[in-house]
């Protein structure tokens, strides 16, 4: 059982690392802009709670990457160790990244003039929902957001500090027709210069020279994540302006 759990965590770490590295070089998926002036009937948004697989603390470049499968396995193991440690840090600070993102997004959407109803959803995996749960209240459109969060260091050394990172891909789906009214990706602190996603440069005041320094300062580590989530939520709401 323990072996299976460890295998899952290693796979999770490998998937997260691959996702981050892919984001660094990819052009991103298509962006579908929202047509606010044509969708005047969208006043109440059902905000579906996002799925998250937990924090990912990525050291994007390591010596291990030069040594094939063995190096990759060692890297995945080290990433898993960092992820587990950071999960403990979040628990010690009573911080739930999903809840914080939902609260930020709710406030930002309300500021844009929408009524927002948070709809808890059980998600089997990190995909958009195939259908949306009902509500007692009338929902004009559903905002379905996926998210990943954590910290990224581009490489080793003090010139490559750990900075908070947040990624969300979201879509707005018409409550009646199920037409996709908007779909886009927002990333705080992206690696590289991806073209087809909204990017937000990190706040240079929120960084840690290495992982141990970050772990030694839980409030500051959480504050960095909060900034990443708040800025990303603001950008996502801006797409629905």
């Amino acid at each position: 059982m323990v072996g299976k759990r460890r295998a899952f965590r290693l796979r999770h770490a490998a998937v997260c690392m691959a996702a981050v590295l892919t984001l660094a070089g990819c052009a991103g998926k298509p962006e579908i802009p929202y047509d606010h002036s044509a969708e005047t009937g969208v006043k109440t948004i059902g905000l579906v709670t996002p799925y998250s697989r937990g924090p990912t603390i990525v050291l994007a470049t390591t010596v291990g990457q030069s040594f094939g499968l063995i190096g990759a396995l060692i890297d995945a193991g080290m990433t898993e160790h960092r992820n587990t440690a950071f999960t403990g840090l979040m628990e010690s600070q009573n911080f739930q990244a999903n809840d914080y993102f939902v609260s930020c997004l709710t406030a930002d959407l309300k500021a844009e003039g929408y009524n927002v109803i948070v709809i808890p959803a059980a998600r089997p995996d990190d995909n958009f929902l195939a259908s949306y749960p009902g509500s007692d209240q009338k929902i004009d459109a559903y905002l379905d957001a996926r998210m990943q969060f954590g910290y990224i260091a581009a490489g080793l050394g003090h010139s490559n500090p750990y900075r908070p990172a947040f990624w969300t891909r979201a879509r707005l789906v018409d409550g009646q027709s199920s037409a996709v009214l908007m779909e886009d990706t927002v990333m705080y602190n992206p690696l590289g210069a991806p073209k087809n996603i909204v990017t937000i440069a990190p706040d240079p005041s929120e960084q840690f020279v290495d992982f141990d320094t970050m772990m030694a300062n839980p409030p500051a580590a959480i504050a960095g994540l909060k900034t990443a989530e708040a800025k990303s939520a603001e950008a996502l709401a801006n797409l629905l302006r």
Partner: protein, 212 residues
């Protein structure tokens, strides 16, 4: 002793990250010496064509036309006619950072009589890597696009931290084998730029993409 040249006959370095240290024009932050008109001219403007391969790259420089608003503020602009098609499309405007300069965009969509039907303020343009970008879905009544420099933003400076991965491939050729090793290194750098009345715009009208 073997000749080192036989052991290390080739060394190939591939740096995947490009654009570092790119040069660009000096930012233009004042149009005081230009002759501006009260409204943009739509006479003889180019027509944007629909399709992924019909993007228009426009260099906005010191020769660009400008308008002067009633409050005295001035803006350079680029105007073009929109595709004559009934097919819905996405109209996108991208302003790329050139060295230390980026055109500070806002845009208006006009009907056939030149009346403003829709506008997108500067805040609608969000960073997409090394460029500012905004997109809208087409409306049948819109015939012209005008992209202005945003007078309220021009002159402001901004700096951003960028994180990158460089990949270098070292190849050694020996008498019996060729050995290649990829070495990835991380790199942080800060880019500073000024919002300006000049820069480069890429404007496109592309079919509405399918949802994921």
């Amino acid at each position: 002793m073997r000749n080192p040249e036989r052991l290390f006959a080739a060394l190939t370095i591939v740096v995947l990250v490009s654009g570092c240290g790119a040069q660009g024009p000096a930012p233009i932050v004042s149009l005081a010496d230009r002759a501006c008109t009260p409204a943009p001219s739509l006479l003889g403007v180019q027509t944007l064509l629909l399709g992924d391969n019909n993007k228009m790259d426009v260099a906005v420089d010191a020769s660009a036309p400008c308008i002067q608003a009633p409050d005295g503020s001035r803006s350079a602009y680029v105007a073009m006619a929109l595709p004559a098609t009934s097919v819905p499309y996405v109209l996108s405007v991208r302003s790329t950072i050139l060295g230390q300069t980026v055109f500070a965009p806002r845009m208006e969509l006009l009907d056939g009589d030149g009346h403003v039907v829709r506008d997108m303020p500067r805040s609608a343009f969000m960073f997409h890597g090394a460029s500012l970008y905004a997109a809208v879905r087409s409306h049948a009544d819109e015939r012209f696009l005008v992209v202005f420099s945003d007078a309220g933003t021009v002159g402001q400076t901004k700096s951003q931290v960028h994180e990158e991965i460089n990949q270098q491939t070292f190849t050694s050729v020996t008498p019996t084998a060729v050995v290649s090793v990829n070495v990835n290194t991380g790199n942080d750098h800060t880019v500073a730029f000024t919002y300006a009345d000049n820069g480069r715009l890429t404007i496109a009208a592309t079919p509405l993409p399918a949802a994921e």
